[in-house]
Symmetry: C2
Subunit: 258 residues, 2 copies
């Protein structure tokens, strides 16, 4: 079996979400699969890691014939636990998802799904995050599958450039035929306008629920938002070097002394 | 007071950490200050936001003469709460820190301090994250102060390019004179090698503590790690567009069909 690719699968919606079950089904067609995923939903965890409390990592029977572990940690913790405790060699591929809900545009920064993929890339593993634009528990993942297979096959063949990973988002569709194809995109420069809902607890103390509205003023037709709005699968190459290289010379021109 | 800059201050070590007290002392020299910070330590929270539980936001008396609120949320939640609930106009500056411990290199991705500053930049606020290379509670922040003042003064004068923020790290020093100056840098391409410590609970179940070792194979003398190792303050311009623009053409050359 040494010639079969070793594929690490994780997500942020928990090991019992339909999205990861669909992803495991696809992944097992391509190689030996190990699943390490959170034991409960971890949406919006970003690149959080757990420093101040210990983590559980328990073997579970969730996917027939597939080694699977659940952890009390974040998605990034799951990748770190897999690498340090469970795996004896670097996996050939890391797949995260399929997320219930979009991780296009600025969501890449808030998303536990994408942060797990970023962590994979930091570890030098070709890594892909998959998300479907449907938050529902019973979302239809079938139309995503032929595209996910194409992308996985291509990445296994081509590898990934160092420091890069893929952020793949699928439009909501009833069938694969409704989807027009794939577009390589850039992240749309959009943001969330937060709107906290204020409530009062039974003791009269205020508390707040985070809600928000997505605002996209980026009209570019080369963005992930454009692709998804026009029924394409969006594929964005993502990097974790956050240096704004273009502005180094500007900062060097500033006079900090006066 | 309308002509005085409005400065939002936050951190990830909690509102009662010495680092934010030192930062508030500096900030009040430049304008009207509002503090919104976590009520307990939130290190390693990355860009986490709180979706699945409500948040507290309570006015507190911590800094004499300064409006201050503590929240049960993450550093990014604190920025969002300040923007939506407390502030009636966009602040002129967001300052996060001073963090007890380094946020250079890849730490920018794991750091709650830096994620709060990233959130400020997403909101269009000139934003700066400050960190000192000393994890100790009683770290000496005095040597940082003249440099922090220079940077704040310069950013208030020059503004920040759209989509950019600053990641400032101070070397550990006994006096400002020991620090050679400031360097505009890029993020060193380094990483953490995780190493989980395995323990057994009183019921015989295993649990794991995350520890790690920082590995820097980036020998560049234009990096933040080089600057800090050579006793300079490192200033890295950071962007939140995570698109790897250079690799869009490569991906377009891949044949996804076969």
């Amino acid at each position: 079996m040494a010639d079969k690719p070793l594929i690490l699968v994780t997500n942020d919606d928990s090991i019992n979400a339909p999205g990861i079950h669909n992803l495991v089904e696809i992944a097992r067609e391509f190689g030996d699969v190990l699943v390490v995923a959170p034991d409960s939903a971890q949406s919006g965890m970003g690149h959080a890691i757990t420093i101040n409390k210990p983590l559980r990592l328990d073997k579970v029977q969730v996917f027939p014939g597939i080694d699977a572990y659940q952890s009390s940690g974040t998605p990034v913790d799951c990748v770190k636990l897999a690498m340090d405790i469970l795996l004896h060699r670097k996996p050939d591929l890391l797949l995260s998802g399929i997320n219930h809900g979009s991780n296009s545009s600025i969501n890449v920064i808030y998303s536990g799904t994408m942060s797990a993929a970023v962590e994979g890339a930091i570890e030098g593993i070709p890594s892909i995050g998959f998300s479907l634009l449907d938050y529902a528990f019973d979302a239809n993942f079938e139309p995503c599958k032929p595209f996910a297979r194409q992308i996985i096959k291509t990445v296994l063949r081509e590898g990934m450039p160092k420091g890069t990973l893929l952020n793949v988002n699928f439009p909501k569709a009833n069938s694969a035929e409704e989807i027009k194809g794939m577009k390589i995109c850039r992240q749309a420069l959009a943001k969330w306008k937060e709107n906290f809902v204020e409530r009062e607890d039974p003791n009269g103390r205020k508390y707040y629920w985070l809600t928000g509205r997505f605002i996209n003023n980026d009209r570019g037709e080369d963005t992930d938002e454009w692709a998804l709005a026009n029924n394409y699968v969006s594929v964005v190459p993502v990097q974790f070097d956050m240096t704004d290289h273009h502005n180094i010379s500007l900062l060097n021109s500033w006079n900090f002394e006066s």
